[in-house]
C-alpha cells in the first residue's frame, strides 16, 4: 500500500498519456524511417528524424526550465548556457573521435588547434577521448557552474528580475569567452565535422534513429525525475517558495538550499539536452550561448504552460515546429515578429499557456458539476 502510493502520485493521468505518446513516437519514427520504403506516403525522411531529434532536446531543455520557473519561481534567462556547456562537452568527445580523418590528419589535435599552431592538447581537453568521461562532464560542468552561481546568488537572496538579469549576463559572458580562439574551443567556428559517436557514423540513418530514441528516453527520464520532485513534499516546498518566499523562511525552511538543489539539477538536465543535441545537428558553436536562445526557451515554456511539465514539452514542439515551418517559407523575414507576437499574445490572452488553460478549464467544469449536484444554497456559505 505505502509502496504503491508514490507510484500513483508520480503517474497521474496526464503523465501516463504523455509517456505513452512519447513511447509511441520513439517507436513510430524509426519504423517509418527505416522500414517503410521511401516511395510510401507514410515514410518519414531522415531530415525529419534529425529535426524531431532536435525538438526532443529542446523539449528536455524546456522541461528543465519549467522545473525551476514553473515550480520554484526562478526565472533563468541564461539556461542556454548550461545547454551549450553540455553540448561542448559532447562536442569535445566527438572532436577527439575524428582522429586522423581531419583535414590536417593530426591524430591528437583537432583541426582548429593545428591551424592555430598549438603544439599540444590543452590539459582541459584530456580525457575527452573517453565517452564515459565526456558523459560525466556533460553533467558535471553545467552542474558545477550552476552550483557555484546559485550558491552566491541564492545566499545573497537575489531574486526575481535581478536574478534573471545576472543569468543573462552569465550566458553572455560565456558567449564572449567561447568566441575567443585562445579559449581553446574552436572560437567562433565552434566544434564540427564530427565523424563517429561510440564507433558509429554520426551521419548514418541508423545512428540518427538511435539518437532520436535516446533523446526520447532521456526526455522520459527527465520527465519522471521532475514528476518525482514536484509531487514530493519537496515539490510542495518549492511551490511555497515560489508563492511566499519569506513565509517559507519563517516556517524554518532553508530556502537557499532548496533553490540551489533544484537549480543545479535543472542545469544538469539542460546539459544532457545539449549533449544529445550536438551529434544530431552536427555542430556546436558560441552562438548557442546567445541570450536570445535562452529567452526563446522560456517562451516555449510560457506557451505550453508553466508549472505543468507536459506543457513545457508541448510548447517546445509547437514553437519550434512553427519556427521550422515559417523560417523556410516566404514569411521567413517576419519570424522574429511572430515569435514576439506569440509571447505577447500568450502573456496577455493565455497566461496559463496551452496545458495550463486546458487544466483550468477542466477544473472549472468539474467544480461546476460538483456545485450543481448538491442542494445546499451557496449563499449560506459566505
Amino acid at each position: 500500500m505505502t509502496g504503491a502510493f508514490p507510484l500513483i502520485r508520480l503517474l497521474d493521468k496526464g503523465a501516463v498519456v504523455f509517456l505513452v505518446l512519447l513511447g509511441a513516437f520513439a517507436i513510430a519514427i524509426p519504423v517509418l524511417n527505416l522500414l517503410v520504403p521511401s516511395s510510401s506516403a507514410l515514410h518519414v525522411s531522415t531530415y525529419l528524424v534529425a529535426l524531431f531529434g532536435k525538438y526532443l532536446c529542446y523539449a528536455l531543455l524546456a522541461l528543465s526550465i519549467d522545473l525551476i520557473w514553473g515550480y520554484a519561481g526562478i526565472l533563468s534567462l541564461g539556461h542556454g548556457a548550461f545547454f551549450a556547456l553540455g553540448g561542448y562537452a559532447m562536442g569535445m568527445y566527438l572532436m577527439r573521435q575524428i582522429g586522423t580523418r581531419g583535414v590536417y590528419a593530426n591524430p591528437i589535435l583537432p583541426d582548429f588547434m593545428v591551424f592555430l599552431n598549438w603544439p599540444e592538447l590543452p590539459v582541459y581537453w584530456y580525457g575527452f577521448d573517453y565517452f564515459a568521461y565526456a558523459a560525466l562532464m556533460v553533467l558535471l560542468v553545467p552542474g558545477a557552474l550552476a552550483f557555484v552561481f546559485g550558491w552566491f546568488a541564492f545566499r545573497s537572496r537575489v531574486t526575481g528580475v535581478y536574478l534573471s538579469i545576472i543569468t543573462q549576463a552569465l550566458t553572455y559572458a560565456l558567449l564572449l569567452g567561447f568566441f575567443r580562439n585562445n579559449f581553446g574551443f574552436g572560437g567562433n567556428n565552434g566544434l564540427t565535422d564530427f565523424k563517429d559517436i561510440l564507433g558509429f557514423n554520426v551521419q548514418a540513418e541508423t545512428t540518427r534513429n538511435a539518437l532520436l530514441v535516446t533523446s526520447c528516453i532521456a526526455l522520459a527520464f527527465g520527465f519522471l525525475i521532475c514528476r518525482a520532485i514536484v509531487t514530493s513534499k519537496f515539490g510542495k516546498v518549492l511551490v511555497a517558495i515560489r508563492d511566499a518566499e519569506s513565509r517559507t523562511r519563517f516556517l524554518g525552511y532553508r530556502v537557499e538550499a532548496y533553490k540551489l538543489f533544484v537549480f543545479t539539477l535543472s542545469a544538469c538536465m539542460a546539459g544532457v539536452a545539449g549533449a544529445l543535441y550536438v551529434p544530431q545537428v552536427g555542430i556546436i558553436n558560441p552562438s548557442e550561448f546567445a541570450p536570445g536562445n535562452s529567452i526563446e526557451a522560456v517562451i516555449w515554456v510560457a506557451v505550453g504552460g508553466r508549472g505543468t511539465l507536459t506543457g513545457a514539452v508541448l510548447g517546445a514542439f509547437v514553437v519550434n515546429y512553427a519556427k521550422t515551418y515559417f523560417t523556410s517559407g516566404i514569411l521567413a523575414p517576419y519570424w522574429l515578429f511572430m515569435l514576439g507576437g506569440l509571447f505577447i499574445g500568450t502573456t496577455l490572452l493565455m497566461p496559463r499557456g496551452i496545458i495550463g488553460t486546458y487544466n483550468h478549464w477542466r477544473a472549472n467544469r468539474s467544480e461546476k458539476k460538483v456545485a450543481a449536484a448538491p442542494v445546499a444554497s451557496p449563499s449560506a456559505a459566505e
Binding site: 510542495k236 511555497a240 519569506s246 513565509r247 519563517f250 516556517l251 524554518g252 525552511y253 538550499a257 459566505e382
Partner: protein, 256 residues
C-alpha cells in the same frame, strides 16, 4: 550560539528584550525598548501606528538586526540577534504576519503539512512519506482552527477570516514555544473577532503568545496583560483597564 555570557541565563523569561534600538535612515523605530515575556504568558501589545510594533516582531524573528540591545530566548539560552530567520523559526518562534500569508496555491491540508514540525532539509522532504501521527496532528489542528470542512480546498479560495485562522493553524502545527501574532483580527467581522479571541485563549493553554492588535474590544476580550508602545519604547504596562486609564496612553493612542 555558545558565546553568550553565562550570567544572561539567569533570566527566567522566555523572551527577554533589553534596550533594543533600531533606526532606519535616522528614524528611530525602536528606542531602548525593553520588556520580558514569561513562559506560558499571553501578552497583548498595543500602540498607535509607527509605535514600532512590527519592527519589534522583525527583531525577534531575525528579519531586522537591532543596532544595540539584547534579545534573548528561553531563559537567555539563545541570542536571537545573532541568528537568521530560519534558525529562529527552528528554535520555536512562530510568526503570523499582519497581512495573512498562506500558500494560496496549496490546499488547506498541505499548508498545515508544510508547517508541521518535521525535518526541514532537502533530502528529508524529497523522501518524505505521510504517516499516521502526522495526519492525526493535522486533523487536530484543523479542529482547533475550525477549518475541517474546507481541508481540501485551495487556500487562495478561503475568506479573509479563514486565511487568518489557517495561518494561526500553521503556527500551531510548527509546535512553537512562542507565537507572535500580528493583528490577527484585522478585517474580521465581530463574530470572527470573538471566535479568534477564543482560539488564542485555547492556544495559550499550552503555548506562550504575543499578540499585536489595534482592536481594543478584542484586547479586552483576551483579558491579559497589555503593553503599550509609543515611539519605539514602552509607554505603559498592566491590565487593559489600567493601561486605558493612563493619561499618556489616552493622549497618544486614543487621540490627543
Amino acid at each position: 550560539m555558545t558565546d553568550i555570557p553565562l550570567e544572561k541565563q539567569t533570566t527566567s523569561a522566555l523572551l527577554y528584550l533589553d534596550g533594543i534600538s533600531v533606526s532606519f535612515d535616522g528614524f528611530k523605530a525602536l528606542n531602548e525598548l525593553s520588556f520580558v515575556v514569561e513562559p506560558g504568558e499571553m501578552r497583548a501589545i498595543i500602540g498607535p501606528n509607527g509605535a514600532g510594533k512590527t519592527t519589534m516582531m522583525d527583531v525577534i524573528t531575525g528579519k531586522t538586526r537591532p543596532d544595540s540591545g539584547d534579545v534573548y530566548f528561553q531563559e537567555g539560552a539563545y541570542d536571537l540577534s545573532k541568528l537568521d530567520e530560519t534558525q529562529i523559526a527552528l528554535l520555536g518562534i512562530g510568526r503570523k504576519f499582519q497581512k495573512p500569508t498562506v500558500f494560496e496555491m496549496h490546499t488547506v491540508e498541505d499548508n498545515l503539512l508544510l508547517a508541521l514540525e518535521n525535518d526541514r532539509d532537502v533530502a528529508a522532504t524529497l523522501l518524505w512519506r505521510s504517516s499516521l501521527p502526522q495526519e492525526k496532528r493535522i486533523d487536530e489542528v484543523l479542529d482547533t482552527i475550525r477549518l475541517k470542512g474546507v481541508r481540501s480546498r485551495v487556500a487562495g479560495s478561503l475568506s479573509h477570516g479563514q486565511k487568518q485562522w489557517l495561518e494561526i493553524g500553521m503556527l500551531l502545527a510548527q509546535e512553537p514555544k512562542l507565537l507572535l501574532v500580528d493583528e490577527p483580527v484585522a478585517g474580521m467581522t465581530d463574530v470572527e473577532t470573538m471566535q479568534t479571541a477564543e482560539l488564542l485563549k485555547e492556544i495559550n493553554q499550552s503555548k506562550t503568545v504575543v499578540v499585536v492588535e489595534h482592536d481594543m474590544a478584542f484586547v479586552r476580550e483576551l483579558g491579559v496583560k497589555v503593553t503599550c508602545l509609543h515611539e519605539g519604547a514602552v509607554l505603559a504596562e498592566g491590565s487593559i483597564d489600567q493601561v486605558s486609564q493612563n493619561e499618556r496612553v489616552v493622549e497618544v493612542y486614543l487621540g490627543r
